[in-house]
């Protein structure tokens, strides 16, 4: 439901430091299971909380990061294996529990990014303290923000290197030789001069008793065998081609029952009347559970729960008036007039007034649903005061905190098992479906699996916000850009999910992508306006960048046109101080044949955008028929994500982000009427299918910079590059998505 939840509402006491501490404590849900490092079990020994070595020589990564297709298991296992000295086929990956030792420090640091426009650099004193508190609170166990490799790059290698040293110490002791004469490779420690060797399996118990080294030395980049290799296959693929991979929906417990659910269809509405007399008599029904915002039917099978749910007679109240798409569009337009500054460089107003040529445009974008292939689900088993939870979740810290609250137990009584995720894209950062499953389990006294229908999934998402972006730009007499203003109006995501951010500034997810622009435009201004309403909004693949990149990169094309310049040349001229971006644009232009002639009815558009510490440039080639029939023929992407851990995973993520972004650009929209979502399933919330999927080529720039994210950065450039390509062919500017509402078909 909308609005801040009490569990995460800031508890500020007088605004002082004590209040901040209390407030932060609510968010940084702590869970400290006993450390396993140095302990033995029946199968082997733990050399670290993240790492188990078996007597059989198997090396198991206990992953704190969720695997949702983005390659987290493979990436982190690769980093560990590289330093440990084993092959990837000797490694297994399993998910660990929710634990502080798995927290994602990279996400906490992301809050401090200068590109989040906090406009305070590295503040000191009280304000600096507040910022650091907020960063600390944001440091949760979480898989989001394209952060797994960013966070684990150094940390996982250090875990592998420390474990290697412990294994070497143990081997050297048993042989009575100096440590410096031993080396670890292929899962064994060798003493070369005497040709002796001991497997990791034989050494694991004694290695666990060794003290991890105080100083950890990492391999030189030149010595890497696995990191950056084209030969490392994903560890999760074999289980995903034979049906063995277990998702949330596949959890089975003895004596379990199944729940189907109807959420209140109107945001902000509630249950008025429920008649379950017909459903209660249907076969296999265990219980009907109702709350103000949902009704669930529990039965002995999934189908019996579903058909009984359909037999319920439920009356819901409406939510607040004005929760419909036209009213929200009006609210956005009205709010834009009062947008507040988040970043300013030079003097936009003066430069714009003095410009030879002035242009402006408004870009509007709809709400979007995530539509993960696996609908929301969660399995809960409550035994005494112990709460066992199986969930496909991206957010272990939040899930444990919210489940503990729903079950009225302390968080150490909640044991969370993270399954494979059938897609995440930000939807599974939410805990709504977990809390519901706990509520239901409390009433049935048996293990229960809650599974949403697709209709519930589409109609009860936390949507990519609807937004309106106003762009204004000025050119001098030579056609050079002198001024640019980007003002964004939308709802705040973080006001609900992470309100501490509002202590230090506006919600950066609303304006990210409009600040810290790489273009050499002397006078720029970014502004933001916030509206609020009953529609729940959340993190959708690339978050604010999915909105702002469309406006920014479309408008740069409009400025190029006003300047009489080619859009690629116009960008290159503004990026002279940005060698990495120049290289990307040149690469994508060359690989796509950007400057080559196209047949009539076909054209290319370009866009470039930096997000999650990686930059992606894309050229989209599109055909447009006389009747508006669009065919996206080809997308060429160039990626600079710093150091690459697995190039094929990088390519797969960029390919996936392009298709996800294309679905949104062509078809994606969630609209509201009387507080209810009008779409319900794939027939009316259309997505790209095989026949509409373009050829995609991904080119990766070699780099030794620290790694950036790859799950999201491929998405933002797609829509503007496509819109720019359509303009090239048709002369029509696309300032509103989706394209099926702009006279096109696909």
């Amino acid at each position: 439901m909308s609005g801040p939840r009490p569990s995460r509402r800031a508890v500020l006491i007088g605004g002082g430091a004590l209040g901040l501490l209390v407030g932060v404590g609510v968010y940084a849900a702590s869970r400290k299971p006993p450390s396993l490092a140095g302990t033995l079990d029946a199968d082997g020994a733990y050399l670290h909380d993240w790492l188990h070595v078996g007597h059989d020589g198997s090396v198991t990564l206990r992953s704190g990061q969720s695997e949702m297709g983005q390659g987290a298991f493979t990436g982190v296992a690769t980093l560990i294996a590289e330093e440990l000295g084993c092959r990837l086929d000797q490694m297994r990956v399993e998910t660990g529990p929710a634990a502080d030792y798995f927290k994602n420090i990279g996400v906490g640091r992301e809050v401090l990014s200068p590109n989040h426009g906090l406009a305070m650099g590295t503040p000191r004193g009280f304000l600096g303290g507040v910022v650091n508190f907020v960063a600390e609170a944001a440091t949760q166990q979480i898989t989001g923000g394209s952060s797994t490799i960013v966070d684990r790059y150094d940390r996982a290698r250090a875990v592998g290197a420390a474990a290697r040293q412990m294994l070497i110490q143990a081997a050297a002791k048993s042989w009575g030789v100096p440590v410096g004469e031993c080396a670890a490779e292929d899962g064994a420690v060798a003493h070369t001069s005497t040709k002796r060797s001991l497997s990791f399996g034989a050494l694991c118990e004694s290695a666990a008793k060794e003290t991890p080294p105080a100083h950890i030395e990492l391999k030189a980049r030149e010595a890497w065998k696995l990191i950056g290799s084209e030969k490392v296959a994903r560890v999760d693929v074999p289980a995903k081609v034979n049906g063995a991979a277990k998702y949330g929906i596949d959890v089975r417990r003895p004596g379990m029952v199944f729940a189907a659910i109807a959420n209140c269809p109107a945001f902000g509405g509630s249950l008025k009347r429920l008649d379950d007399s017909k459903a209660a008599k249907m076969p296999g029904i265990v219980k009907v559970v109702s709350r103000p915002d949902f009704v669930a039917v529990v039965a002995d099978t999934t189908w019996r729960a579903k058909r009984a749910l359909a037999a319920l007679d439920i009356v819901w109240s409406d939510g607040p008036e004005g929760t419909d798409s036209p009213s929200i569009a009006k609210a956005l337009a009205a709010a834009l007039g009062a947008a507040g500054k988040v970043e300013a460089k030079g003097d936009f107003a003066a430069a714009q007034a003095g410009a030879t040529k002035r242009i402006s445009a408004e870009y509007s974008l709809p709400y979007l649903a995530h539509a993960t292939m696996e609908p929301m689900n969660c399995t809960v088993e409550i035994v005494g005061d112990r709460v066992e939870i199986w969930a496909p979740t991206q957010a272990q810290s939040v899930t444990v905190a919210d489940a503990a609250k729903a079950a009225s137990v302390s968080s150490d009584k909640v044991n969370l098992h993270t399954t494979y995720l059938g897609g995440g894209f930000g939807r599974r950062l939410e805990s709504d479906f977990v809390v519901q499953a706990v509520e239901i389990a409390k009433e049935v006294g048996k293990p229960v699996q809650l599974l949403w229908s697709r209709e519930e999934d589409i109609q009860h998402d936390f949507y990519r916000p609807m937004a309106l972006v106003r762009a204004e730009g000025g050119l001098d007499s030579q056609g050079r850009p002198v001024a640019l203003r980007l003002a964004t109006a939308s709802q705040s995501i973080l006001a609900r999910v992470f309100p501490p951010i509002t202590w230090i500034g506006p919600d950066f997810t609303q304006f990210e992508g409009t600040v810290g622009l790489p273009y050499a435009i002397p006078n720029t201004r970014a502004e933001v306006a916030t509206i609020s309403n009953a529609v729940p909004v959340g993190n959708w693949r690339s978050v604010g960048h999915s909105l702002t990149a469309f406006a920014k990169e479309s408008f740069i094309d409009e400025m190029a046109e006003a300047a009489g310049a080619d859009p690629l040349d116009f960008r290159l001229a503004m990026l002279e101080q940005q060698p990495r971006l120049i290289a990307l644009l040149k690469l994508v232009a060359q690989k796509s044949g950007y400057r080559d002639k196209t047949p009539a009815g076909r054209g290319r558009g370009v866009a470039i955008h930096t997000s999650f510490q990686s930059a992606v440039a894309e050229v989209v080639e599109v055909s447009v028929g006389d009747n508006g029939a669009l065919k996206v023929e080809r997308v060429v992407a160039a990626v600079d994500c710093g150091t690459v851990v697995n190039p094929d995973v990088v390519r797969a993520q960029i390919e996936g982000a392009i298709v996800y972004g294309l679905s949104a650009a062509l078809f994606g929209k969630i609209t509201l009427r009387n507080g209810r979502v009008e779409q319900s399933n794939f027939p009316d919330y259309a997505v790209v299918h095989m026949a509409q999927a373009p050829r995609i080529e991904v080119h990766i720039v070699e780099s030794s910079e620290p790694p950036g994210g790859v799950g999201e950065p491929g998405l933002p450039p797609l829509a503007p590059a496509l819109a720019n390509a359509i303009h090239k062919v048709t002369g029509k500017r696309i300032r509103s998505l989706p394209l099926i509402d702009q006279g096109f078909t696909a």
Partner: protein, 150 residues
């Protein structure tokens, strides 16, 4: 009691006649490789083979099934050695993997009907949805499996 053959093994179940095959497979026969995605035959995550035909099991009712022969993802091979599975591994197709059971069975059905499918054949036959956007790799894997032969 309804009798069907699933992955070569005779199975029996007793359900309300309007129960979709998907839930028979998952809840009664205990095979969880077949996934629920939309419930309206739109996404293909629940695709299984009925004989050699790909069907969306969420929309095939139990009452129509007596004597039928069904193949689910578990029936291709345990070790990923079926040519379509091998091609899937070689092309590193899956991301989240949730749609892939259905995607693979749709590909198996296509290759049985058309051993050397063209891109147009693939566009027409593979109407399953993948939100991770693995379509390009699915296409490449189908061509690869066609080369190897079923």
């Amino acid at each position: 009691m309804t009798k069907i053959t699933v992955n070569g093994v005779e199975r029996e179940f007793d359900v309300e006649p309007d129960t979709p095959l998907l839930w028979v497979i998952r809840d009664h026969l205990g095979l969880t490789g077949t996934k629920f995605g939309c419930g309206v035959a739109a996404c293909g995550a629940c695709t299984v083979l009925l004989g050699d035909e790909p069907v969306r099991s969420c929309s095939v009712l139990a009452k129509a099934l007596d004597g039928a022969s069904i193949t689910t993802i578990e029936g291709l091979s345990n070790d990923g050695s079926h040519p379509v599975q091998s091609a899937w591994i070689a092309e590193q197709v899956p991301q989240c993997g949730y749609c892939q059971s259905g995607m693979i069975l749709a590909a198996v059905a296509l290759l049985k009907a058309k051993p050397k499918p063209t891109d147009a054949d693939i566009d027409e036959a593979i109407t399953n949805i993948c939100r991770c956007g693995t379509y390009g790799r699915v296409r490449a894997a189908i061509h690869r499996a066609a080369e190897a032969g079923l």
